[in-house]
Structures are given as C-alpha cells and as structure tokens.
Amino acid sequence: MKRQIPVILVGMFGLFMIFQYFVPHESSEWVYEFLLDWTIIIGIFAMALGLWSLYRVSVEKIKTRKPAWGYNYLTLCGLFTMMFFGFTTQNGEAWGWFFPFLVSANLVLVLMIQASVNKGGRGLFLGLAGVFLVACVVIIVFDNTWGFHFETAQGLQSTMFRAFFDHILIPIFATMFSLLAFFIASAAYRAFRARNVMATLLLLAALIVMLRFHPFYGPLTPYIAPFMSKTSNWLMNVPNLAAQRAIIIGVGLGIVATALKVILGIERGYMGKG
C-alpha cells in the first residue's frame, strides 16, 4: 500500500493535467489553478526543508570535526543573521539594541550547537545559551527602535539587509563568476588545437564568432568586418540553430517519455528507492 498509493495519485493527477489541457472549460481551469497553488505551496515547504537540511548537515560536520568544520559556524551564523535582517526594520532612525540582540541570538545558536557537540561541558553551554536567550527576549520586549515584520516584505528594503546583499553577496558572486575568465583563457589555449578536421572546424567557428565583436581590423575593417559579421551570423542562425532545435526536440521527446513512465508507474525514482 505504501508504494501503490503514491503511484495511483501520480498517475491520476498526471493524466488529469494532460486531459485538462485539451478541455478549455471553467471547472477544468479552476481545478488546474487549484493544483498550481498546491505546487507553489509544496515548493515553499521545500525551502523550509532545505533550511533544515542545511542546519543538520552543518551541525553534523561540526560534531564529527570534518575538515574546515569551523566554516559551518560561519554558514549558520550568516544564514540566521540574514534571516533576522530580512524580518526586521527600524521604527525610526536608530537601531537601538538591535546589534546586541543579533550577537546574542547568534551566540545562542553557537552555544546550543556546542552543547550538543561537547558532552562534557553541556551544562555550562546550555546555561550560557539560556542567559543570552533571556537577553534576546528582554531586548525584543523593551527595545522599540526596531521590530519584526513577518507579514510584509519590508525587511528586504531594510538598510542592513541591503548593505549585506550589496556589499557582501554581490561581490562574492561576481568574484566567483569572474574567475571563469582566467580558466576559460587557459582552457582555450590548451583545448582549441587543430588536432583533426572536427577540432579545426570548432576552432575556426570559435575564432570567427569571437572576432565578429572586434573593431581592431584597422584599415582592413571595410573588407574583413562584413565578412566576419555575415559568417558569424550564418554560424549562429544555421548550424547553431539546427543543433539547438535538434536538442530542444530531443529533450522534449525525452520529457514526454519520462513523464509517461512516471504516470504509468514504470519509473518510481521519485519515491526515493528506484
């Protein structure tokens, strides 16, 4: 029964989704929209599951003292700090006791983890965590300069959230992405070699597409630039297009085949045990 019910549910809803696409009736659309709401709700729950998973994996790494386990504290503190920023806003100009609150909240987290890791000093860690927790509660109750906003997205506009996003997250992402330029250059130097006919064709196509961007032909510009432009447009619009279309159609057919296998209960990988 444990396996049959999910298979029946998947089959039923899968067939309904195919069926409703061809029935443009109000009731069919209503059920379709109702099911879409479910998809979104499940998606949001998956986010909560992801948070829990990240917490568990990080704590596990700290417990077992895996290499570079110290960074997991940073991950968890970063996660909770950004969550606090996202849910809080200033009521006026000053932040009041917000930062002591933030430090206390992070200390509660770290001490709780330490209590679960070090069995010897558990009492001490739990005691300290309790002290900081009380400090957090006192600050929340008595400090009116800032407050939690769970119903609206106001926190996302808050100074701290935006400062952390603009000045930490964006440069980190941009740095990681920009490192690609160095690796691409090194890889192009080693890989783009005319070892055979196919490699030569690939090399020439890459050179033409890259060279179409460049206005460095000097006095030869009127002769070379139109040729490069026409050839690269042809490369993009004919061979590239043909290959991309073939891939898209192939992927589409693959999706249909996999969907049918799932609906008919042949493919059960989604249940976790294949």
Partner: protein, 331 residues
C-alpha cells in the same frame, strides 16, 4: 666606461621620450598606450617564443587576462557599437509602442549574472520610462528582488524623479514558485501578487486598472539566463497568452534562445555586447541621454581586449602544437 656611458645615454633618451609622451598625451591616453603596448608586446614575444615549441605557463595566461581586463577599467577604452538585428528588434519594439503601453520587466537573475544582465535591464527600464510606458517590475528569482531594488533606487528612479510609484511604474517583487507563478499570472495577476512590495493591494494600483493578467500586457522582457528565465516566459506566458516577449540574457545562454527568434522572441540581448548595443541605440536616439551611465559600453573594452588575448593564445597554442609535431617527426 664607454659601455656605461652608452647605457646612461640610452636611459636618458628613454626617460626624455617617456616624459615627452606624457606631456603630449593625457594620462588616460597614456595609460591606454602603455597597457596596449604591454599586452601586444608580450603577445608578440610569446608568439616568437612559440616558434621554438615552448609551452606557455598558465600563470602567464592569467597575468595577460588580468592586465587585459584591468587596464581598460583603469583607462577606459570604448568603441562605437552597431546594433545587430536581434538587439535592434527589441529596441524598435519598445520604441514603436504608443506611450502609456504597459511593459513588464522581470529581473530573473542573481548577482553572478548581474554584471552581464543588469546593464541591459537598466537600459531597457530607462528606455521604457523615457517613452512614457507604464512599467511593472517583478522577479522570479529570490536574489532578483534585491537587484531590482538596487537598479530602481540607484540608477533608474534618480533619473526619472517625476515618475510616480503605482502610476508610472510598480514593483511587485519576487514570488516563489518558478513556472507555477507564470502559469497563474498568465490568467490572473492578483492571485499570485495580491500586493506590491510596499504592501499596496494590486486593486488599488492605477497601472493594474486595465491589467488583469499577462494577456493584457503590451510587451514583456525577461532578464536572466537561468531557470526560470526567458525560455519559461515564452513557454508559459508568451505563447499561451499571445504576448510579445523579448530576452536579455548572459552571453552563454543566448545561442540556446536563437530557435525562438523571431517567431516566439521579439529579440535577444546577449551579454555585455547586447547591453552595449542597446545603450548605443538609446544614446543615438535620445541625445538628452548622452550623459547616462553606460556600463555595457564601458565593459566592452575589457571584454574586447580579453577576447583578443584569448584568440592570440589560441593561435600561439596551435603554433606550438604544429611546431612540436614537426619536431617529433624530425626526431
């Protein structure tokens, strides 16, 4: 003694030449000149070295890429851009819409893609507001909302202080659900976005007086490159809703979207080049925007030089390969 005198004389001449160049050229031009000399001189030296089939250490390649990217950022090199048909199609579509048309701009990207995609998002937002279109901003990516806020507060709105929130533009923010969100807003906006980011109900926002769903929009531009992105906008909104969609994506994604152009995508802006072409068209059409910030055009300098360095290394690599093969055959 004679040798020392000659060396001193040569050094003095070199200093005089450097000072003369410094006096003739402004600092920016001088920087450009020296960095180009450094890059091309180095490349020529490596080219000559490659004749002896000597491989280039990857650290040397990294150094060249660093100089090629850093030099044009310090001493800006800009080129004039001729808009390609795919970019021009988007520009013409925005231009040809009557003022007061409603355009939806979706910021579906993260900070990693931002350097490539944000310049074009800013340029199109600017163009729409300049033309007097009503703009709905949204995001299908959690990180997109913060980038959207950044674009609005730092770049777009300071240039259009007369534009009013809710009347000329509205930011409805991010909603989780990926394609599910698109599937719903193609028939009903309010169901998915009951309020804008300022918690104002959609029913009270003037822009939404005549807009119930995406089917009522005049044009949609999706900026991104990941999933969900432009392809999903075509599949779930553009085609079923009969709305024109254009894409502004990272350069690596652009070739994957060509099958949708021109039937399902009005046009495609691919990477920094796409942004630069759009900015160039905008400046050309609206002379009063000639002083606007043009990150796309500015970034074409580093990109062009980096591409030239990569092309040169590909050529050098092939010379080394063929020379090495000949050497092996000879032995």
């Amino acid at each position: 003694m004679g040798k020392v005198n000659l060396t001193l004389l040569l050094a003095a001449v070199a200093i005089v030449i450097i000072i003369a160049i410094a006096l003739i050229f402004p600092l920016e031009r001088l920087g450009q000149l020296y960095s180009l000399l450094l890059i091309f001189g180095g490349l020529v030296a490596l080219l000559l070295r490659s004749i002896f089939a000597k491989e280039v250490d990857r650290r040397i390649i990294f150094l060249f890429i660093f100089v090629a990217v850093a030099a044009p950022l310090l001493f800006p090199i800009t080129f004039s851009e001729k808009p390609t048909a795919v970019v021009k199609a988007v520009f013409d579509r925005v231009e040809s819409l009557p003022p007061g048309s409603t355009v939806l701009l979706s910021f579906d990207f993260d900070p990693a893609m931002a350097p490539e995609v944000q310049p074009m998002a800013n340029a199109i937002s600017r163009h729409c507001l300049k033309k007097g279109h009503k703009v709905i901003f949204m995001s299908l990516w959690a990180t997109g909302q913060a980038l959207l806020t950044q674009s609005l507060t730092n770049t777009i709105l300071p240039e259009f202080p007369e534009k009013q929130d809710g009347i000329d533009y509205v930011n409805i923010g991010y909603k989780a659900g990926n394609e599910g969100v698109l599937n719903v807003i193609v028939s009903n906006f309010e169901k998915m976005f009951p309020t804008d980011v300022n918690s104002v109900p959609l029913g009270e926002i003037e822009i939404f007086d005549d807009i119930r769903s995406c089917r009522d929009l005049d044009f949609i531009v999706s900026f991104g490159g990941g999933l969900p992105g432009s392809k999903e906008w075509v599949l779930f909104v553009g085609d079923p809703g009969g709305v024109d969609v254009a894409a502004g994506v990272a350069a690596v994604v652009a070739p994957q979207l060509y099958p949708y152009y021109p039937a399902q995508l009005v046009g495609i802006l691919g990477g920094v080049k796409g942004a630069a072409e759009y900015e160039f068209s905008l400046k050309e059409t609206y002379p009063d925007l000639k002083d606007m910030d043009t990150p796309g055009l500015k970034m074409m300098g580093p990109q062009t030089l980096a591409h030239i360095v990569i092309i040169s290394f590909i050529v050098i690599g092939n010379i080394i390969y063929f020379r090495g093969r000949r050497k092996e055959k000879g032995q």
